[in-house]
Each structure stands twice: as C-alpha cells, then as structure tokens.
C-alpha cells in the first residue's frame, strides 16, 4: 500500500484521505449494505412472518387485518400438531445421530489414516452427492426402499433392498430417516474433518506413548477436541431435517407428515395458522442453537 501524498489532488487520493479521516463513515460504507440487508431481508421477513401469525383469516381464506391469538393458541395446543412436532424432532434427532455415527469414522479415516495425496479426492467424493438434484436422490431412495408389492406387483421382488437382502424398512419413518441422513451427511463430515485436521498428530502419539488404548484415546483426547465440530455439524443435520417436507412427501407418499408438511399445506389454505406453526421450528432451533453454543459450536469452526 502506498501512502497518499498530502499534496496529491487526484480524485482517488482525495477519497482515500476523506475515508482515513472519517473512520466511522468508512465503517458505514463497508458494513452498511450488508447490515441493512441482514436487518431488512432476514430479520425483517422473520418478524413479518411472526406478525402474520396474529392476523385473522376470514371464511373466504382471506387474510384480514384483525388481530387474533387464536392461530397461535391452535398451533400450540392442538394435539395432532404437537404429535407432528414431536415426530419431526425425533426424526431430526435420529438423522443427526445416524449422520454422526457414519461421519465420525469417515472423517477420521480421511483426515488421519488416508494418504495425504488421496485426501482431496476423498473429500470431493464426500461432496459429490451434493451436485445431484435433491428430487433425484429422493426418488432414487424411494425406489431402493420399494417393498415387494405382493402378488399384484408389476415388477416382482421390490426394490434394491428387498431384492438383495430381503428386507426393507418400507416407506415409513425409518426410510425417511435414512434418506435424510444420506442427504445431509456431507454437512456432518466436513466440520468433523476440519476439526480432525486441526488435531495435532502429536496428541495421538502422546496418548499412545502414555499407554492409552484406541478407545481411551478417542474418548479422552479426540472427542473433547471434536465436540465443537460435531455440534456445528449437528446444527446442519438437525435443522435441515427438522424443516424438510419434500422427503417425507416423496418417500412416504405424504403419509408421514412432518412440521414442514403442515406449514406447506397450510400456507395456501390458512396463511395465519401456517405462520403460527412456523413458531414451532423457530423455537426449537433457537433452543437447539443455545444448547450447541454451550458446546462451543460457534468457536473455531
């Protein structure tokens, strides 16, 4: 960087001098846009969404400006809605646990065991499924899960699972969990891989030298360091699963409903109730994020 000569009267020089003398102004210029965008588009629309929950919808499904708390009360007290919320949370947690169980050994292998020159290729391989269309993957899993439709099936023997191992979870919750876990797995592998990358090999050597067996090393050395990474990855898998409504629709023929399906269905039929129902995932995600921040998920990711 070259200093601008005091006597330089060219336009860029004058701008540069001005910005240097008015620090606050330059801060405003650089951050003003993004912050305004963030406030208006992001926080603003969220607030509008929350506000929409308090509008009354008349019998012609027209949103009026009358205030009512009925939608929110309905959203939080109707038994079938609560059941759906619980179902969604359980599915999202199951997806997270499954992703974690698969991602830990995968990431460990890539980061610590695989030869360094293969690492990049392996990471690309993990990311590769993200390039394929979401729907394509959803329908592919559906065909894999297809059970033997019995004596009236057009194609005997069912899908891949049925044909090879003779068992399939069918089109229920298990199938949804597996499909979602497949879809979001890369988001769990990457942060854990990044966390392991930062783990100095000397730590493992030291643990070994001190007589720790592999499991002890994993529990006492690796895990504490990985917790923030796992927490960060779980935020992706949990929140993406919690809000998903396409996969349940594709896999279960819309029989298993998640909170996103309810919101999707209602946003055209009863916008206010739909908005009220979005308070559920918002509340759940906030609680989840608070929990994760206690695990330092937001540091060093």
């Amino acid at each position: 960087m070259t200093m601008v000569a005091v006597g330089d009267r060219s336009a860029p020089a004058r701008v540069s001098r001005f910005l240097r003398r008015h620090r606050r102004f330059s801060l405003f210029v650089t951050l003003g846009g993004p912050v305004t965008w963030m406030m208006l588009v992001y926080v603003g629309s969220l607030l509008v969404l929350v506000a929409a929950a308090f509008f009354k919808v008349d019998s012609n499904s027209k949103v009026t400006t009358d205030f009512t708390t009925q939608n929110v009360v309905d959203a939080f007290t109707t038994g079938s809605f609560i059941q759906t919320v619980i179902r969604s949370v359980l599915i999202a947690l199951a997806v997270t646990v499954l992703c974690l169980a698969i991602a830990l050994p995968m990431a460990f292998y890539i980061a610590k065991i695989a030869k360094p020159r293969y690492r990049r290729g392996l990471i690309v391989a993990v990311l590769l499924p993200l390039w394929a269309g979401y729907l394509v993957k959803g329908y592919a899993w559906k065909s894999i899960f297809t059970p033997d439709a019995g004596k009236f099936a057009a194609r005997k023997g069912g899908g891949f699972l049925e044909a090879t191992i003779g068992w399939t979870p069918g089109f229920g919750k298990v199938a949804i969990v597996i499909t979602l876990a497949y879809l979001w797995l890369p988001y769990m592998v990457l942060p854990i891989y990044a966390g392991l990358e930062r783990l100095p090999p000397s730590y493992l050597d030291a643990a070994g030298d001190l007589g720790a067996r592999p499991f002890r090393t994993f529990r006492s050395v690796i895990m504490p360091i990985l917790i923030p990474s796992i927490a960060a990855g779980s935020i992706f898998t949990f929140s993406l699963s919690l809000g998903d409504y396409i996969t349940p629709r594709i896999i279960s023929g819309a029989k298993v409903q998640m909170i996103g399906n309810l919101i999707d269905q209602l946003q055209q039929q009863n916008q206010a109730l739909s908005a009220a129902l979005t308070l559920w995932p918002i509340a759940i995600i906030i609680v989840y994020l608070l929990g994760m921040s206690r695990l330092h998920a937001f540091e060093n990711v």
């Binding site: 008349d58 012609n60 390039w131 979401y134 297809t146 009236f152 057009a154 396409i246």
Partner: protein, 443 residues
C-alpha cells in the same frame, strides 16, 4: 385436480432449486416429462392444437374485436359483489393491449411447452392483447393470487369460485358479450360454483369426474362401489391412494349418503356439524387402509404402475397415462355418484384489462381453443361444438356429450355456512373448517 399436478411438477422444481444443491437436469426433467406425457395420451395434439388459421375462425364473433367504442371500458365493477347486476358491463371497448391471467398448467399454452400446442398466440394476434400467464398450482394458491388484485382473470375450480365471489375478488359476467357462451353445454351453466343469485360469474371451461381406479388383477370382478375406498377394499386394503385435499371430505360424504342414509346428507358440500363429524370419522378409519395421499398426479401414476397402489381416487388423465405404460388398471365412476370439477374463467373485480379478459373468455371457450385445451389437458370440453374438432373417440372417453353421465357428479363446490342444499334450520360447516379438519386429520 390434475392440472395442479402438472404444475406441481413445476413447483417441485422450484423447491428443488431452493433446497440447495439442485441440479438443472433434475428440474427440467421433472417439469417437462408430465406435460409431454399428457400430450401422448390425449393423442394427436398437433392436429388439435389450434393453429392460427383455425382459431381466427372465431373472427365471426365480432362483438369483441369490432367494438369501436372508446379505449376505456364501460365497466364499473369495483364493488359489484353486493349488487351483482350493477357491475355488469353492457358493451365492450377496444382491447387494452395486455392481459394478466392465472391459469392451471396446460390451460393457456402459447407454444412454449410444445410448438404445436398454442391457442394463446392466435388470440394475441387477433385481439392485440398480449397475454401473461401465471400458473396456479392449487385452488388455494389461485385464491391467494386473486386477492392481490394484480390479475385480470383466473381459471378457477369450484373449490375456489365461491371464495372468490363472496370475497368480492371477481365480478359478475355479462354472457351476452361472450358469443361462444351460447354453445356451452346447458348442464354447465348457472351452477352454484359459477353463478350467484341468478347472475353468471364466469364461463365454464371444462369438466371431469373423480373416478375409482383399481388394479384389474386385484379386482377380477370390476368394482363399482365407493365402498372400496371406505372399508371394503379387499385385497387393496392398505394399498389405497387418496387425493390430498380438504375437498376430499366430500368423497366421504358421498359414501355416507348411501351407507348411512339416516344422516340425511343430500349434498356432499352441505354438511352440518353432525354430518361433517361423521365424514371425518369415516376418513380417520380409512387412514389405516391408505398407503398414499397424492397431490402430484405423477406420484399416483407411478404407484399405480408399480402395483404399490391397488385402488384409489383418480382422474381420467392419470388412468390414460398409466394404461399407456401397461399398468393393469381400470377406472369407473362409482354407482353412488362421484365428486368432480367444472372450471370457470372469471374476471377480477379489479381487472385493469377487462376488455381483453372478456375477449379471452370468449376465445378460450371457442370450439377450436376449447377442443385443443380439453385434449391437451385431458378433460371434457365445455363447448358442444368442440367434440367435432377433437380426436375420434375423445369425447366418448371423457363423456363430454353424455348428460346422464354427469347427473350424479358432484362438482367441487366451496362449502359455506349457509347450507348449499337449501336447509335453513342448521348452519353448515364452512370450507375453512374443512381445511382445519383435513390438516388435523393428516397431521
């Protein structure tokens, strides 16, 4: 309705894009496949799609194009919903040069889907109204869009029309200004879903019935009763496919009309609380027999072809598509009657281009355009003269001219608190409650 399925594919495409990591090939695949598939079954699309010369035949319908009054319309529609007759125009002015309409996918084709399928371009050439089409995916979305007041008109189904009329979103229509209206089947005119107090609110576009589809191997004896869907599924138990919309409650009501006559249901869209609760109870019981709630029509088609669904509620177009793929299925209108739809082109009460909208309403029910839409889309045309222009056998397949066939078809109608069957001693359950009940049932 299957139009929303078609559009559903498009919607799903959008979702795909939103759902991160969407790939282009996936999206284009899902959106174009169903459309072209429909073309195949309807047969001879290229022969039916109205090319310029055929459509300009409707030039002998001069009122619209020759009217030489001033540019601005003689229409004062603002608050016409209260006093229907007052807002009705008596003559038309020149076209405003533009037209913004909401349509089911496949209802306003301009050749962009298939160059041979185009009844918008001839209209634009003839009237000078350039048409912007917004595809509506569901009835509910259409109502929402119309509430914005930014559109001139809509092709609304019966589960939307009442909300539009009552909500003041649409204006009464002077059918005298629509010459082709005279040729529309009488059975479609001045019905509860397209008129109010003897005043027309639009022109009928086409109709279809919701059929019972069944696997011919699972049902060696062809079923003819709606009981298959409600408790008497036989081999199809656990493999039923049900249309995923609040309006399906009416199907349960039709079942109750025959199975529980003491409930005294006379119109499946006019249910008092007791009758409504009975219908919901029936649907709850049905749940365990259902394997699929479909809203994207290709989903049901696939399930029928694979045999994972052995019976269900369906549309003629799905049956045709699946049969073309060698699915062992057949469909029947149940003897207890069936639900169905009859769509209506309506004009917005806030229309900025009312003259163009009137011209469009006349154009879209002209024999040429109406025949082309019906075949492209897969429904019975509304204009009696259309059948002469469709592929041989088409109108028979869709029972277009068979008045008796439609006698026991209950076209989708929006339930209102005032009972549609004329009862005054009770209040009926309005559609908004149908929505809530369906949502809870499905959750």
């Amino acid at each position: 309705m299957r139009k929303q399925r078609m559009a559903g594919a498009l919607g799903a495409t959008l979702v795909l894009l939103l759902a991160a990591c969407g790939s282009d090939d996936a999206s284009s695949g899902s959106s174009s496949a169903p459309v072209s598939a429909v073309a195949t079954t309807s047969g001879g699309v290229d022969t039916t799609a109205a090319p310029d010369d055929t459509t300009s035949g409707s030039a002998d319908v001069p009122v619209v194009s020759t009217a030489d009054s001033t540019d601005l319309p003689v229409i004062s529609t603002a608050d016409s919903s209260d006093i229907p007759a007052a807002g009705v125009p008596t003559e038309l002015g020149k076209g405003e040069g533009e037209l913004n309409i909401i349509a089911w996918a496949g209802y306003a084709e301009d050749g962009s889907t298939d160059p041979a399928v185009d009844w918008v371009t001839p209209f634009e050439k003839e009237t000078g109204c350039s048409v912007n089409v917004k595809t509506g995916n569901t009835s509910d979305e259409m109502v929402q869009l119309m509430q914005t007041g930014e559109y001139d008109g809509v092709s609304a189904s019966g589960d939307a029309t009442t909300r539009l009329i009552e909500g003041g979103e649409v204006s009464p229509v002077n059918t005298d200004l629509i010459p082709n209206y005279a040729d529309v089947f009488d059975g479609l005119k001045m019905k509860p879903w397209n008129s109010k107090d003897g005043q027309a609110y639009g022109v009928p576009h086409g109709r279809g019935a919701n059929l019972l589809v069944y696997n011919t191997e699972a049902f060696p004896t062809p079923p003819d009763s709606i009981d298959v869907m409600f408790g008497a599924a036989g081999d199809a138990a656990g493999k039923l496919s049900v249309y995923d919309s609040p309006i399906y409650i009416a199907d349960a009501a039709i079942y109750l009309m025959s199975s529980q006559p003491d409930l005294k249901i006379t119109n499946p869209y006019a249910l008092d609380q007791k009758q409504f609760d009975a219908a919901i109870e029936v649907l709850k019981t049905q749940k365990s027999d259902v394997t699929q709630y479909w809203s994207l029509y290709t989903d049901q088609q696939t399930a029928l072809e694979s045999g994972t669904v052995l019976a269900g509620t369906t549309w003629q177009v799905i049956v045709g598509l699946a049969q073309a793929n060698d699915a062992k299925i057949a469909a029947v209108k149940t003897k207890e009657g069936a639900t169905g739809w009859s769509d209506t082109w309506m004009i917005s009460s806030k229309a900025k281009h009312p003259n163009c909208m009137y011209m469009w309403m006349n154009h879209i029910i002209s024999p040429e355009a109406n025949a082309a839409v019906a075949e492209w889309f897969g429904e019975a045309p509304s204009n009696a003269k259309s059948c002469a222009l469709t592929t041989k056998g088409f109108c028979d397949d869709y029972h277009a001219e068979d008045d008796q066939y439609w006698d026991d078809v209950w076209y989708w109608t929006t339930a209102t608190e005032t009972c549609l069957d004329g009862r005054t001693d009770v209040k009926c359950v309005p559609y908004s409650e149908w929505v809530n009940a369906w949502t809870e049932l499905r959750a």
